[in-house]
C-alpha cells in the first residue's frame, strides 16, 4: 500500500503555494500534474521518508544480494561525525556532520561530491559525539537542528542561512545525549521541543523563525523523538515524546490535547510514533514497550488497546506491514514480529539490534554490528534473504539507512555510502 503513496509532502507544499495565488482547484490539478510529470524521481525530504515511518515507495529493487552485498557506487568519507541520515532531492543530497565541535550542513550532488557546506553552530560532543538529526527540505528551504539546540533554516541552493534560534536561550533544557529532534514542517510552521518548564514545545514561522506559540506540555525535559503529524478533518495533531510521556498537541495553537505518561522514569524516547486508520502505535524501550492506542475521531482523546513491554526497541524504529509490526529488541538483541491486533510476539530472529526500513516488499535491517540484512516480512514470521557487512566508515552503526531511486544510502559516522540495489 505504501507504494501507492503519491502525495509526498513536497507536492503538498507546492499545492499550498499555488492556493496562495487564489487559483481554482481545476487549474491547480492541471498545474500539479504538469509539475508531477516534470520529475519522475523519488525524493526523501525528511527523517525516515514521507510519513516519517521508514517506508520508501520504491520499485524494482533487488530481491536478494550477491555475496559481499550490492555494488558500492560511491563513498564520501568527509561528512564529519554523526548519526543522522541524509535526505535526497532531485539533484542533491543533504546531511549534517560534526567537526571540531561544530555542526555543518553539507550539500552533495547525486554522485556524492560536495557542492557546499555551511556552519550551523555547536554540536553535542560530550558522549556519542556528532550530528544527531536529519535535515528537512521544503520548497527550496532546509530546516536543521543540532545537539546543542540550535535550530536554523538555510537556502538549499546556496547554503545561505535565513534564520537561526538557540533553543537553550528560551529556557530550553538540554539532556544527557543532546537534543536529537529532526524538524517537522506543517504548512507554514515548524516545531521543536526546547524542554523548558514553561517553554516545552514551540511552533515557529518556518520563513522567519518567529515563535508562533509556546506549549507548556507537561513541563518535562525533552526526549529524543522526532515528531509525527496526524492530520484529521478537525485538527492537525503534533505527536511526540517529552521525558517519559507521549504528548498530543494541537498544531494550530499548542494546546495539549492528551498525554500518556510511561511506567517508570526512563527518559530515552526516540522512536517516532506511527498513525494508521485511527490508531497510534509507538515503541518506547525506556517506557511502556510496544503500545497501540485508539485516537478519538476528533483527536482529543486516546484509549489503550494493547501494550507489550517485552518489545523494548530504543531507537531503531519499527515498521508495520500487512498487519504485523517489525522491530528489534534492545536488552535482548533479536528482531521481533508483533501481531498488530494483539501485540503478541509471533517471531524472533537473532540479528543483533538496530534499525528497520521497508521498500518494495522487503525489510532492510541495519544492526549495531554493521550488518545490513535483507529480510522478507512473511506475516507472523521474519525470513532472512541476504546480508552483508558495512566495513567502511567510523564509530557506531546507529544512523537509519535511506532508500531512494534504487540506491541504499548508509551513513556510518564520517562516511556516506551509496549502494546500487536496482534490478538491472
Amino acid at each position: 500500500m505504501f507504494r501507492e503513496i503519491v502525495f509526498s509532502k513536497y507536492y503538498y507544499h507546492k499545492i499550498n503555494l499555488l492556493m496562495k495565488f487564489n487559483l481554482n482547484l481545476k487549474t491547480i490539478i492541471v498545474i500539479f500534474l504538469f509539475v508531477s510529470n516534470c520529475s519522475f524521481a523519488q525524493q526523501v525530504l525528511e527523517w525516515r521518508g514521507i510519513q516519517r515511518n521508514g517506508v520508501y515507495p520504491e520499485k524494482n529493487l533487488l530481491t536478494s544480494w550477491p555475496e559481499g552485498g550490492p555494488a558500492l557506487l560511491w563513498e564520501n568519507a568527509s561528512m564529519g561525525n554523526g548519526y543522522g541520515s541524509p535526505i535526497i532531492t532531485d539533484n542533491n543530497i543533504f546531511i549534517l556532520g560534526e567537526t571540531d565541535s561544530i555542526c555543518y550542513l553539507y550539500a552533495l550532488d547525486l554522485t556524492g561530491k560536495e557542492i557546499w557546506k555551511s556552519k550551523i553552530g555547536y554540536e553535542w560532543v560530550y558522549n556519542y559525539p556528532g550530528a544527531r538529526t536529519t535535515p528537512t527540505y521544503v520548497d527550496g528551504l532546509l530546516y536543521v537542528s543540532t545537539g546543542m539546540g540550535i535550530v536554523s533554516c538555510f537556502e538549499a541552493s546556496s547554503g545561505k542561512e535565513k534564520w537561526t534560534i538557540d533553543m537553550q536561550k528560551i529556557n530550553g533544557r538540554n539532556v544527557r545525549f543532546g537534543y536529537s529532534e529532526s524538524l517537522l514542517i506543517d504548512g507554514d510552521k515548524t516545531f521543536f521541543m526546547p524542554g523548558g518548564a514553561d517553554t516545552n514545545v514551540v511552533a515557529l514561522d518556518r520563513f522567519t523563525g518567529k515563535i508562533l506559540w509556546i506549549s507548556k506540555g507537561l513541563g518535562q525535559i525533552p526526549s529524543y523523538c522526532s515528531p509525527l503529524m496526524i492530520k484529521l478533518p478537525q485538527r492537525n495533531i503534533l505527536v511526540t515524546f517529552s521525558k517519559n510521556a507521549l504528548l498530543g498537541i494541537d498544531a494550530s495553537d499548542g494546546k495539549l490535547l492528551w498525554s500518556q505518561v510511561q511506567d517508570g522514569e526512563g527518559d530515552v524516547q526516540v522512536n517516532t510514533p506511527w498513525y494508521e486508520n485511527g490508531y497510534i502505535y509507538y515503541i518506547s524501550g525506556d517506557g511502556n514497550g510496544a503500545v497501540k492506542l485508539k485516537l478519538s475521531d476528533d483527536g482529543t482523546s486516546i484509549t489503550d488497546v494493547w501494550k507489550n513491554k517485552k518489545c523494548d526497541n530504543l531507537m531503531g524504529a519499527f515498521v508495520k506491514v500487512d498487519g504485523y509490526i517489525y522491530t528489534s529488541g534492545y536488552e535482548k538483541r533479536y528482531y521481533y514480529v508483533l501481531d498488530e491486533k494483539t501485540g503478541d510476539i509471533t517471531d524472533s530472529v537473532k540479528f543483533d539490534r538496530g534499525t528497520i526500513n521497508y521498500a518494495d516488499g522487503l525489510l532492510y535491517l541495519y544492526n549495531e554490528k554493521g550488518h545490513m540484512g535483507l529480510f522478507k516480512p512473511a506475516g507472523p514470521k521474519l525470513e532472512k534473504v541476504s546480508s552483508f557487512t558495512v566495513t567502511k566508515g567510523t564509530k557506531a552503526h546507529y544512523a537509519h539507512p535511506v532508500i531512494c531511486n534504487g540506491i541504499l544510502y548508509i551513513r556510518h559516522g564520517k562516511s556516506l555510502l551509496a549502494y546500487d540495489i536496482r534490478v538491472k
Binding site: Y126, N127, Y128, P129, G130, D352, E368, K369, K395, A396, H397
Partner: protein
C-alpha cells in the same frame, strides 16, 4: 572359587589402573600449558588483539601487550575512545564519559588490577615460584565436556577457579570475584572459538556473566604476534 579370585584380581587391576591414570594438579597444569602453546608464547614479545566488546553498546576494542608487563586497552565508550594502560611502572586511564578527557594516574586497587592485567605470561606459568597454590577440586560436566576444576589461590590471596578440558587441556571457563558497590560478585568467563596462531591457542570469543547476569562478550577479529612496537605507546600522554 578360582573364578571369584580371578574376577577380584581383574577388578583390582582396573581400579588401580584407573587410579594410576588420575592426574595430579601439577600434571594437569603442565599439560594445560603445553596445550595452549606456552613454550612458544615464552618467545613472543608483543600481542595485539583487535575486535569488539558488547556490553551495553557494541564497541571497538584493541588490546596491546608487550613482554614482560606492558599493557594498553583502547575501547570506545559512548563512541569516544578511552584508554586503560600500564607502562611497566605506572597505571593510567582516561574516562571521557565523565566529561574529563585528561588521562589520570591510577592508584590503589585500580592500579593493582591494571598491573595484574599487564602480566604477559599466563597465571599458571611458574605458579609455584610466584607463590600461588593450586588445588584440584575434582571433575565437572560443562556443556557435555568433562573438565578439571582447579582452585588457584594467588600469592596475594586472590582466589580463582579454572575449568580445563580433560581431553585436550584447553581452558574452558574461569570463575573470579570482583568487588562492587553491591559487595563481591562472581564473574564467570567462558572461552570459545579457539584458533591456532603460530602453534598457540587463542580464544576468539569470550562471554562473561556477573552475578549470573550477562555482562559482556568479546569477539576478536585479529590477533597479531610480534608486531614491532614503540614502548611509548604505553606511556601516559603528557599533553
Amino acid at each position: 572359587m578360582k573364578r571369584i579370585l580371578v574376577f577380584a584380581f581383574l577388578s583390582l587391576v582396573i581400579v588401580f589402573s584407573s587410579l594410576a591414570q588420575e592426574l595430579t594438579v601439577d600434571q594437569i597444569i603442565e599439560k594445560h600449558l603445553k596445550a595452549m602453546g606456552n613454550d612458544i608464547m615464552l618467545k613472543v614479545n608483543t600481542i595485539i588483539s583487535s575486535g569488539h566488546i558488547t556490553r551495553q553498546d557494541y564497541m571497538p576494542l584493541k588490546i596491546i601487550r608487550m613482554r614482560p608487563n606492558k599493557y594498553k586497552m583502547e575501547f570506545d565508550m559512548q563512541d569516544i575512545t578511552a584508554y586503560q594502560a600500564y607502562d611497566g611502572t605506572n597505571a593510567w586511564m582516561t574516562a571521557p564519559w565523565t566529561g574529563n578527557m585528561e588521562p589520570q594516574v591510577l592508584t590503589g586497587g585500580g592500579a593493582n588490577d591494571m598491573k595484574s592485567k599487564a602480566e604477559f605470561d599466563v597465571v599458571f606459568y611458574q605458579w609455584k615460584e610466584k607463590g600461588h597454590n593450586a588445588e584440584l577440586m575434582g571433575k565437572e560436566d560443562y556443556n557435555g565436556l568433562e573438565v578439571y576444576k582447579i582452585k588457584l589461590t594467588q600469592a596475594d590471596g586472590t582466589i580463582e577457579y579454572y575449568f580445563i578440558d580433560s581431553r585436550d587441556f584447553i581452558l574452558q571457563k574461569k570463575i573470579s570475584y570482583r568487588k562492587t558497590r553491591n559487595g563481591e560478585m562472581e564473574v564467570l568467563t567462558m572461552y570459545s572459538d579457539y584458533r591456532d596462531i603460530q602453534g598457540m591457542k587463542f580464544a576468539f570469543y569470550t562471554e562473561s556473566l556477573m552475578g549470573g547476569q550477562p555482562y559482556s562478550t568479546i569477539e576478536y577479529e585479529t590477533i597479531e604476534i610480534n608486531t614491532k612496537l614503540d614502548e611509548k605507546v604505553f606511556s601516559m600522554p603528557t599533553e
